[in-house]
């Protein structure tokens, strides 16, 4: 059976059954597939093709080079060397040129010149330009790349306590900013590549795992299965992802097996601790504060409720943090089996991750099995799969760090019988016990199959032509059941509350890729890739809230007898149909050209705007490959220039339609009277957001690659922003998504690797990257006006801190009566009267700072001596100014119901100019307490020891490595909020900060 046979039989035996012809006509509708099927039906004869045998050796040591790629130049015919460095390859003719590549080595081209047996000696080189990197729809030698593509170094991936692959990106690649939006056992992270183009649409990059777009939570992917991560940044490299490319693309490639069978066991175990315990007030401090705030320091007894008074008299205080927090644990175990020969490669791995966060009951567990298999079935046909099955358990309701933060230290954590109180403060029943989560039943399990599969046909008789089908499936479910029984605050009120939330995802991707490569006259190499693909995403969510249970026995499993059952249903479905073409042209490894066009149709847009076209072009010049280049100290110099357009379709489905929400009433008999009210406006004209960008890059290697790196300059403009704009609530609706406005980004990036010392067994390397992005709103509604309601200002970054500026504190003796705040009292916040009109009005609000960093940088220093390796990774973000939510004057609430940070207050004696007096209403205009959120953090520091091979072998191992790593051990910042690395709103300041982790690990191969 073969494709050609199939195609021949179609011609002779067609049509036989109607269904078959129907299928065929549909098949034909797929332009590329149809193109494939109508290939010349010439019968294929096994032709005499010469076989070349060879050995690939390390030039220095003479040891075999395993897993080197051996390809007939200008074709897709290729193989990989075995564990003895040997390969066998059928070539077209003995006049072909063989190209041998291997990560870490300089590429070699050998003209066979009639030889059937060759020996290739490869020179180890850490040169950026020779590594093979994954790009969209294929791989390329770094020296052939025309766009801006950055690779995450392997040491960010291995031996680190990363629960999610995203954590490996932080500080690792210039131009990529990673912010944590939520700490805990499973952290939530935001990735921003080259600044923010979009104001309202998603700014998350597109993640592609083994060629298939991934729409799920990345913490469900085992980071230890990952071989490499590439980040595509400029228009040329992302344009082939068209409508989904404008936020950048992250390509994740999982490990493949090669060489002789190998068993690898890797494990680490770490402990976690709270990095910085917030200094909230102790019981006596709280009492003093409260008396001052409520009663002006007089008659303190009357300021307290009976519970507070009793505890104060008895000297019983609660340190809620001590109760809610614990030492966390994190461990991961991975066992993998891999191997391969010319025809079959396999990698089977099982991984188990378990994180017990620093908050009591905060658990995250992931078990995964991966099966990566590549099989050559025929000389012209290979198939493969890379599939992960995983189960992620997020069950368990953590003790609430936020509630622990503000809970009254004069309340009662336990009752007289030693049980947790439901409401710690008898006189203020509003607040639940911060440890309430320990009593909540919370089951939350996700299961996922993520499978990327391919079929590759090297079309016989047409050298250089190949067809590939990629089929991706992502089938995932999340099932969550939660029950608050009568021993919790909400449960005690409603006689038990259950919530059930089950969701199912079914995403698929089908891609047909036709590729043709040809070398003409030895120096002209063409590589043409065309694509026809379709993608579908769907997520169904079913929920149930039930209240009023006869007892707490069966938790959420007895919703059928609850007094109230409120079901909910939500569905979100979107589709994308795409065509793409890309041409790479290489002249003599000196001049490179890449042009691409992609056309995407997306379901989320209006009927007249379904399709968008995204072209790009890029050129590069390998200067050092020029015959005239004689500067021997500069061994690599390459310039790149690209320009192109990309899109953003990242809005939720159904925004082109106006929607009504259910808003029901009850009739006079207590029966539901179903109701609907308008809540959103439709916009049938919604279309893409389009970003045009230009990138100029230089790759360089000096002193035989002792110094190497890349430098990038870019500028981008985004138009037709998908803007969720604030509209006057006079419409009865507060916002609508429209294509309005323009933004611009420009930036500069430098990645630099230096080998500082190389003395025999001792080496010291530095990998450094720094990047700066400037973001600006160019236009909003076409009329040059700012949108104050949304806090968007033309000529300013998208994220600004806006409000009244604090101008110190009113002091005794100031002429308050004749000021802009005549009713202020000494000790109140003085507000800057910006327009000087003698009163404080909304016109005095102003831009106070930018929440976009001035620059971000990362630096890793690695020292190696014999088997020892020590490395330290520093990460910094500089120049963010924002309001510190922990400094608000009313956080304690009226009557002092909440605990806050211990701090200094203005008094007539202590004439602070930074913070107001301890009383109500000292900051009526909510003037902003601005702080610098810059930080420098020692993100990882590690020490590893690898046993000498001879010793390891004697012990029966191939390799044995032990290591220790410390994460977040040191931070320097002026920010007085909880953690400068946790981004976001002021409210998140009261959530758990990032923890410190100390871990020990083991990596053994045999």
């Amino acid at each position: 059976m073969s494709i050609t046979a199939f195609s021949a039989s179609r011609r002779t035996s067609h049509p036989h059954s109607p269904s078959m012809s129907g299928i065929l006509s549909r098949l034909r509708a797929l332009a590329l597939l149809a193109g494939l099927l109508s290939l010349p039906g010439t019968a294929l004869h096994a032709q005499q093709q010469p076989t070349v045998r060879g050995t690939v050796l390390n030039d220095a040591s003479g040891e075999p080079v395993v897993s080197a790629n051996v390809v007939v130049r200008g074709t897709n015919i290729g193989t990989v060397t075995n564990e003895r460095g040997e390969f066998t390859l059928r070539v077209n003719a003995l006049t072909d040129t063989i190209q041998v590549t291997r990560i870490g080595y300089s590429a070699q081209s050998i003209a066979l010149a009639g030889r059937a047996t060759i020996e290739v000696r490869m020179r180890a080189a850490a040169t950026l330009l020779n590594e093979i990197v994954v790009v969209g729809y294929g791989t390329q030698k770094r020296s052939d790349i025309t766009g801006a593509v950055a690779s995450v170094s392997a040491d960010r991936l291995e031996g680190r306590p990363n629960t999610s692959p995203v954590q490996a990106l932080a500080g690792a690649v210039p131009g990529v900013s990673v912010t944590t939006t939520g700490a805990g056992a499973e952290q939530s992270l935001n990735v921003l590549i080259r600044g923010r183009n979009s104001i309202s649409a998603s700014t998350a990059p597109l993640y592609v795992i083994d060629g298939i777009p991934f729409n799920g939570t990345l913490s469900e992917i085992n980071p230890n299965d990952i071989e490499s991560i590439e980040v595509l940044k400029d228009a040329s490299s992302v344009a082939i992802y068209g409508a989904r490319g404008s936020n950048g693309v992250v390509l994740i490639t999982t490990r493949k097996g090669t060489g002789r069978p190998r068993v690898n066991y890797r494990a680490y175990y770490g402990i976690q601790e709270l990095a910085q315990k917030p200094r909230v007030m102790t019981g006596p401090e709280f009492a003093e504060f409260k008396c001052q705030r409520v009663n002006g320091g007089q008659n303190c007894e009357s300021a307290f409720t009976a519970t507070e008074l009793a505890n104060l008299e008895a000297g019983r205080y609660v340190d809620w943090f001590d109760l809610a927090l614990r030492q966390g644990h994190q461990q991961q175990h991975d066992l993998s089996f891999s191997g391969g020969n010319d025809d079959t490669k396999y990698m089977i791995s099982g991984g188990l991750l378990r994180v017990s966060g620093i908050a009591l009951n905060d658990e995250f567990e992931r078990g995964s099995v991966r099966l990566n298999v590549d099989q050559r079935l025929k000389s012209w046909l290979s198939i493969g799969t890379s599939t992960q099955l995983s189960q992620t358990d997020r069950g368990g309701m953590p003790a609430s760090f936020e509630t622990a933060f503000w809970s009254n230290p004069l309340a009662n954590a336990y009752d007289a019988q030693g049980n947790l109180t439901i409401s710690p403060w008898a006189e203020d029943l509003q607040y639940a016990n911060p440890l309430q989560g320990l009593r909540v039943t919370d089951d939350d399990v996700s299961r996922r199959v993520f499978s990327s599969n391919y079929l590759n046909v090297t079309v016989p008789k047409i050298p250089g032509l190949s067809y590939r089908f990629n089929g991706g499936l992502d089938i995932a479910s999340r099932e969550r059941g939660t029950f608050y029984g009568r021993d919790t605050r909400v449960g005690s009120e409603v006689r038990g509350r259950a919530t059930i939330e089950n969701s199912g995802r079914f995403d698929w991707t089908a891609e047909n890729i036709l590729r043709y490569t040809k070398t003409v006259a030895a120096k002209h190499t063409f590589d043409l890739t065309t694509l026809y693909s379709a993608q579908s995403r769907s997520l169904d969510t079913r929920t149930l809230r039930a209240e009023g249970f006869p007892n707490d026995v069966m938790t959420y499993h007895q919703a059928n007898i609850a007094a109230l059952n409120v079901p909910g249903y939500d569905v979100s479905e979107s589709k994308l149909v795409s065509q793409m073409g890309r041409l790479n042209y290489n002249y003599d490894d000196r001049y490179l050209l890449t042009t691409t066009v992609r056309r995407d149709g997306s379901s989320v847009f209006g009927a007249n705007h379904k399709y968008g076209i995204f072209p790009s072009v890029a050129v590069a010049w390998n200067i050092t490959n020029e015959p005239f280049w004689k500067v021997s100290s500069v061994n690599v110099l390459k310039t790149r220039l690209s320009y192109g357009s990309t899109g953003n379709q990242a809005i939720s489905p159904y925004q082109t339609l106006a929607g009504l929400d259910d808003y029901s009433y009850v009739d006079g008999n207590g029966q539901t009277a179903p109701g609907y009210r308008p809540t959103s406006l439709g916009n049938p004209d919604l279309r893409w957001e389009t970003t045009n960008s230009v990138n100029l890059g230089v790759d360089f290697g000096l002193l035989a690659d002792r110094i190497s790196g890349s430098f990038e300059l870019y500028r981008s403009r985004t138009r037709d922003l998908l803007l969720r704009r604030t509209i006057s609530p006079t419409h009865g609706i507060t916002g609508i998504t429209q294509n309005i406005g323009k933004t611009a980004n420009k930036g500069i990036e430098l990645g630099l690797s230096t080998l500082n010392l190389d003395r025999g067994n001792f080496t010291w390397r530095t990998d450094f990257n720094i990047s700066a992005n400037r973001n600006e709103i160019v236009d909003l509604y076409g009329d040059g006006q700012d949108d104050v309601a949304s806090e968007w200002f033309i000529g300013r970054p998208i994220d600004v801190t806006y409000g009244y500026r604090m101008d110190g504190i009113w002091q005794e003796g100031d002429d308050i009566a004749n000021s802009a705040q005549p009713s202020a009292k000494p000790g109140d916040v003085k507000v800057f009267d910006r327009n000087g009109d003698g009163q404080i009005t909304p016109d005095d609000r102003m831009i106070l700072g930018s929440m976009q960093p001035k620059f971000i940088a990362g630096m890793t220093n690695t020292v190696r001596w014999r088997g020892w390796e020590a490395s330290a990774f520093l990460h910094t973000v500089q120049g963010i100014e924002q309001s510190n939510g922990l400094l608000g004057v009313n956080l304690a609430q009226t009557g002092v119901r909440r605990n806050i940070l211990l701090r200094e207050y203005w008094t007539p004696e202590n004439r602070l100019n930074t913070y107001p007096a301890n009383r109500e209403g000292t900051n009526p205009f909510n003037a902003v307490f601005l702080e610098d959120r810059s930080f420098v953090r020692l993100k990882d520091i590690s020490l590893a020891y690898t046993l000498p091979t001879s010793v390891a072998n004697r012990m029966g191992f191939q390799n044995l490595k032990v290591y220790a790593n410390g994460r977040n051990l040191w931070t320097s910042t002026k920010w007085t909020g909880l953690d400068p690395e946790i981004a976001g709103s002021s409210s998140s300041e009261r959530f758990a900060p990032l923890e410190k982790t100390y871990m020990l690990g083991l990596d053994v191969r045999f």
Partner: protein, 551 residues
């Protein structure tokens, strides 16, 4: 052929993705058309009577929200219209309601409650506009009578929303169009109040004509509700003749009469007739309440049942009362119980002036209506069961206490007592709420009669209320505007939109300064109107929208 079939199987099995595209029939345009199965839009809802009734049900739910929170349990919508006046203040005044005590400090364009109110009311206006606009579609399957009733209700709700808006903010944009994505406006103009009232008059007259006299479904609007608001509107428009006629129309309908005898679920327990109409189970007309014009419906454990915050806000924190035991005090000896009305958090309280406004014989000021003492029901730590703690409501108490008075020893109304028997500490309240009472119609009638010079008739009208409450009847000579305002407070304490009444009669500043010493510290003339929410001004990019003076 076998080979052919094998290939197909192979493709389908190994490459499920390809099979999905190739075999499912890949019509790209079809594939890119959105067909959400779970979204209702106006086009597919408003096609028949049931659809229009569903849109109206949401309007009832929206009106009911006045007694709920904007966003949950902590921002009772009714506060800006009922508190910060002569007869009510904020006791435990959390951030969101501090402005009714400390006007100059906290009533600002950025105060979120104003933005919430604006949106709440314009949501209702937009929904009415949608119903009115689409009712003219000739394809709708309904009778003329159905259509008339639907239009009556829709116009009523629009007028009801503009009533709130004009009292709260003064001149506001008059929006009579259904909002759509292609007609976003950035140049709203403030329409003079007189023009808005013309529109309200037209809407209410249409509602009066089309609404039924009675409804078998408690909670539905009837003709008398439209007439009641017309009477009030004509008083505001200084047309007492028409006002009297509309109020009189309610009286003459013969459908309503004051509750003068005990009835309903607590008829045999100690109490007074006046208070029976506030007991859950007695509130609707079909439960024996002859006085209610419009009641908001609530239900526990029912979708759409909702819950209100009245008890939570108006019942004081009696569980925090320190009970004297020897030389010290015990808290918790007065425990949350159904007897005490369930759990309150004392956000709002009547002023001392309002509590002292009753003569001793007046049922409306008796301990059945206003709680003035508690007895120990939880004898802990030496407290004695049945010991009585008297509450204290002197104005002097305010002067010495801080602005956030947080006083659990202050009296509270019993009109909103209600608790979930199985969970007395529960936040929510599921009892129905009498929203509009015949008693208030009579007070509007009396006001119109007075303005028309019919003092004797006005006295007679007022005396219907006083007789029922066992208060001393008044003479025609006693009928003054201030007396009517006092009588309104006695009758409608915590019920009426007191602020609107005082604004309508031009008495807000004078009486609040005189009778509410907490608000008087900060109240200014500018506070007779609330500021336009800043977002409304900021989003009006195409035209400057003037702020109210003083903000």
């Amino acid at each position: 052929m076998t080979r052919f079939a094998n290939l197909r199987l192979f493709m389908a099995a190994a490459l499920s993705g390809a099979a999905a595209v190739a075999l499912a029939g890949c019509d790209a345009d079809e594939m890119l058309t959105e067909k959400p199965p779970h979204i209702i839009v106006a086009d597919n809802l408003l096609t028949d009577l049931a659809g229009f009734d569903a849109a109206l049900n949401a309007q009832y739910a929206q009106a009911r929200r006045e007694k709920q929170g904007h966003s949950g349990l902590n921002d009772l919508v009714a506060i800006p219209m009922t508190v910060g006046v002569d007869n009510a203040y904020a006791n435990y005044s959390a951030a969101e309601l501090r402005f009714v005590n400390q006007w100059t400090n906290f009533s600002t364009p950025q105060t979120s409650v104003f933005e919430n109110l604006w949106l709440w009311l314009y949501q209702m206006i937009n929904a009415s506009n949608m119903i009115i606009n689409r009712a003219e579609n000739p394809d709708i399957r309904w009778t003329e009578a159905d259509k008339a009733r639907v239009l009556g209700e829709a116009h009523f709700f629009r007028a009801w929303a503009y009533r709130h808006l004009t009292y709260l903010f003064g001149p506001v944009p008059l929006n009579l169009e259904e909002s759509s994505g292609s007609t976003i406006k950035t140049d709203w103009e403030r329409t003079p109040v007189a023009d808005i009232r013309k529109q309200m008059e037209a809407d209410l007259l249409l509602a009066e004509e089309n609404l039924p006299a009675t409804s078998s479904n408690a909670g539905k609007l009837t003709k008398a509700v439209a007439q009641h608001y017309l009477a009030e509107l004509y008083l505001a428009m200084n047309d007492p003749v028409k006002a009297e006629a509309k109020a009189q129309a309610v009286v003459s309908s013969g459908l309503y009469k004051l509750i003068t005898a005990r009835y309903g679920v607590r008829a045999t327990q100690p109490g007074v007739p006046f208070m029976d109409q506030f007991v859950d189970g007695n509130i609707n007309r079909n439960q024996g309440n002859t006085e209610v014009l419009w009641a908001f419906q609530f239900a526990q454990d029912v979708t759409g049942g909702g819950s209100n915050l009245l008890r939570r806000y108006w019942v004081n924190r009696y569980n925090s009362i320190p009970v004297p035991v020897g030389t010290r005090t015990v808290t918790g000896a007065i425990a949350i119980s159904a007897e005490y009305g369930g759990r309150g958090i004392g956000r709002l309280s009547p002023t001392a002036w309002a509590i002292n406004l009753y003569e001793p014989s007046d049922d409306r000021g008796s301990h059945h209506a206003i709680r003035k003492f508690y007895t120990v029901n939880n004898p802990i730590n030496g407290a004695v069961l049945g010991d009585t703690v008297k509450l204290v409501w002197t104005a002097e108490k305010w002067i010495t206490s801080s602005l956030a008075s947080n006083d659990p020893l202050w009296p509270s109304t019993r009109k909103w007592d209600w608790t979930d028997a199985t969970s007395p500490e529960r936040d929510e309240q599921f009892s129905d709420v009498p929203y509009l009472r015949y008693a208030e119609t009579l007070l509007l009638l009396a006001e119109a009669q007075m303005k028309n010079g019919k003092l004797a008739e006005a006295a007679a009208t007022i005396n219907q209320l006083r007789d029922r409450a066992h208060a001393t009847p008044i003479t025609a000579a006693q009928v003054t505007l201030d007396f009517i305002l006092d009588e309104r407070s006695r009758e409608l304490l915590t019920e009426e939109h007191r602020r609107y009444t005082l604004l309508r009669t031009g008495k807000f500043y004078e009486r609040t300064m005189a009778y509410n010493p907490i608000a008087a510290r900060y109240l200014a003339q500018r506070d007779t109107i609330y500021p336009i929410p800043q977002v409304v001004i900021d989003a009006n990019l195409g035209r400057a929208m003037p702020q109210n003076p003083g903000f």
